[in-house]
Symmetry: C2
Subunit: 304 residues, 2 copies
C-alpha cells in the first residue's frame, strides 16, 4: 500500500484557454488541483487526486513532478482532458467563462487508496456531490484537517449539497461574492458568522485585491493582499492561495489561530506571484526564499 503524503487535493487538472488585457494563450496548464498542489509543494509533500485524458501532455506531468508532487492518484481515462476557456476584462476581478468542456471529468469517481488517510485534505472546487463522496473516504485517526472550496455555480444549483459539505469540514475557502450569495448577507462579517454556524471552524473569505478575512471561534483576522502594480492573469489565484495556506498548515502539523494567520499571509504571497504570468509560469521561477522576502515587505506595509 502507498504511503500517503501529508496533504492531498481533490480537484481538476485542466488545459485552459485564456484571454486577458495583456494577451491570449491557447494552451495553458491549469486546473484547481494543479495550482493548489504546485503552491503547497513549497511547504510540504502533497498529492493530487484528479483525472486527465489520454491527450494530457507529458510536459505538464513533468511540471508537477519537478516539485516532487505525488501523482499516484492522477488517473488517466480514455478521452480528453478537462478544458476551460475564460476571459478577463479590464477589472481583472472576475473571470468570464466562455466555454467548459468537462470531458473525462464526467466519469471522475475519486478513489483514495493510500495505506491510511492523509492528515490534511483539500476538496477543491468540484461538484459538491463528489466532495461528499470523498468525505466518505477520508476518516480515521490519522485525519487532522479537511477544508473545501466551492463556486457560485454549485451554490446556485446544488445549495443543499454545498451546505452538507460545509457541515463536514474544518475550514472553507470562499470569495466575498460567493459568501454573500450563499448567505444572503451583504455584510461580510455577518456572512462569515452565518457560514461558521453551518459547520466550519475556520471561514476564510478571499477578497481579491483587498486581501483575506478569517472568521473563527478563536477570533477574526484580516490581512491585505500584496500590492501589485500589474495583475497579468488572475487564473489560479484562489487555488494557489489555498495551496499556500494548506501547505503551510500541513507543514506546521497543527491548526490554530496562530498558525492560520501565518498560513493566510503565505497563501496571499504565493497568489501574488501566481498572477504575475500565465498559468504556473511565474511560480516555476520562484523559490521559498522569494515568499519569505515578499512576506517581510507585506508585514512592514501593514504595520503601524
Amino acid at each position: 500500500m502507498l504511503k500517503p503524503p501529508y496533504l492531498i487535493v481533490i480537484g481538476t487538472v485542466a488545459i485552459d484557454e485564456l484571454s486577458t488585457p495583456f494577451g491570449v494563450e491557447q494552451k495553458v496548464f491549469g486546473g484547481s488541483a494543479s495550482y493548489f498542489s504546485y503552491a503547497a509543494s513549497f511547504f510540504t509533500k502533497v498529492g493530487v487526486v484528479a483525472v486527465v485524458g489520454k491527450d494530457f501532455p507529458e510536459e505538464y506531468r513533468q511540471v508537477l513532478e519537478e516539485r516532487d508532487i505525488d501523482l499516484s492518484h492522477l488517473e488517466v481515462l480514455p478521452g480528453k482532458t478537462f478544458h476551460w476557456k475564460g476571459k478577463y476584462e479590464t477589472d481583472m476581478n472576475s473571470a468570464i467563462t466562455l466555454q467548459t468542456d468537462l470531458n473525462v471529468l464526467l466519469d471522475f469517481k475519486p478513489k483514495i487508496h493510500y495505506s491510511k488517510t492523509p492528515e490534511f485534505v483539500f476538496l477543491a472546487n468540484i461538484d459538491p456531490d463528489l466532495q461528499l463522496e470523498v468525505l466518505d473516504q477520508v476518516h480515521g485517526s490519522s485525519l487532522k484537517f479537511v477544508a473545501c472550496d466551492t463556486m457560485n455555480f454549485w451554490i446556485k444549483n446544488k445549495c443543499d449539497a454545498v451546505k452538507k459539505v460545509l457541515g463536514r469540514v474544518h475550514a472553507v475557502f470562499m470569495n466575498d461574492g460567493e459568501a454573500r450569495q450563499l448567505t444572503g448577507e451583504v455584510n461580510l462579517i455577518k456572512a462569515a458568522q452565518y457560514i461558521h454556524h453551518l459547520g466550519p471552524e475556520y471561514v476564510i473569505i478571499k477578497k481579491g485585491e483587498h486581501g483575506a478575512l478569517l472568521y473563527s471561534h478563536e477570533g477574526v483576522f484580516i490581512y491585505p493582499a500584496y500590492p501589485l502594480e500589474t495583475v497579468f492573469d488572475p487564473t489560479g489565484a484562489g487555488d494557489s492561495f489555498a495551496g499556500g495556506v494548506m501547505g503551510y498548515l500541513a507543514a506546521a502539523r497543527k491548526v490554530n489561530l496562530k498558525t492560520m494567520k501565518t498560513a493566510i499571509a503565505y497563501g496571499s504571497i504565493v497568489a501574488s506571484f501566481t498572477v504575475e504570468k500565465f498559468g504556473l509560469e511565474r511560480l516555476r521561477e520562484v523559490k521559498r526564499e522569494n515568499f519569505d522576502k515578499r512576506l517581510e515587505v507585506l508585514k512592514k506595509i501593514c504595520k503601524i
Copy 2:
C-alpha cells in the same frame, strides 16, 4: 485679530435627508465640515470655515460648540442652509443623490481672517475653484500641511481645476472609485502613483469596508477597516475619517510615514463609529478612550 486653531476645515455644513435600509430621517445635521470638525475635535483644536442660512438650527450649532470647535468662520447668510437628500440601498457602499439644494452655498466666498494661517488646513469636497481661492489665502511660514478631498462630480466636470488643486496640496483623500476615475487606471497602486505624480506627497485612498491605502514618497501603508456587523448610515464616513487623520496629525504637529500610519488607523476607527448611527449621533456618545480601545482590537486583528 483672532488666534487660529491648529487645524481648519473649509467645507459644507448641511441639513440632510437620509434613507437607509434601517430607516428614514428627514432632518439630519450633516455636511463635510461638520463631520470633519467633530471627528478632529477629539484630537486637536479645530475651526470650521463654512456657510449656513438663517434657518440653521441653534441646536446644531451647539453640537459643534460642545466639542469646543471654533465657529468664528461659520458665516450666516440670508437664505436656506445647504440641503442634501440621499439614499443607500442594500450594499451601503455608495450613496444615491436624490436632491441637492445648494441654497446659501451659491454665494459662499470663504474668507480666512485669523491673525495668521493655521498650521493644518483641510479642503473638504467643494468646488475646486473655491478650493483654489482658499489656497491663495493660506500661505506663510506658519502653514505646515494642506490636504484636500474631492468627488466624482468635480472630476467629471472640472478635471483641470481638480488637478490644479492636487498640484498645490501635501495630501489628498479620495475613494477608490474616484482615484480610478481620475487616472483611468484600474490598478489602485498605479492609480495612486499617478496621483502622486500630480503633486501630493501623500495619496490616501479610501476603500470603504476594505480599509485604506496610503501611497507616499516614504513608502506604502495598507490598513483594514474595523470589522462591523452593521453599517447603519455610511454618510460622513469619509469626512470623519479625514477628520480623524488630520486631527491626529495636527496634534502630533509633524507629518511623516510614522505619524501618518497611526493617523490613518485612528481615522478608520473614528469612521467605524460614525456609521453606527445617523449623522453625528454615535460620535456624540463616544470618548477618545473608545477610539483607543477599538484601535487595540484592530491592531490585534491584523497582526500575525
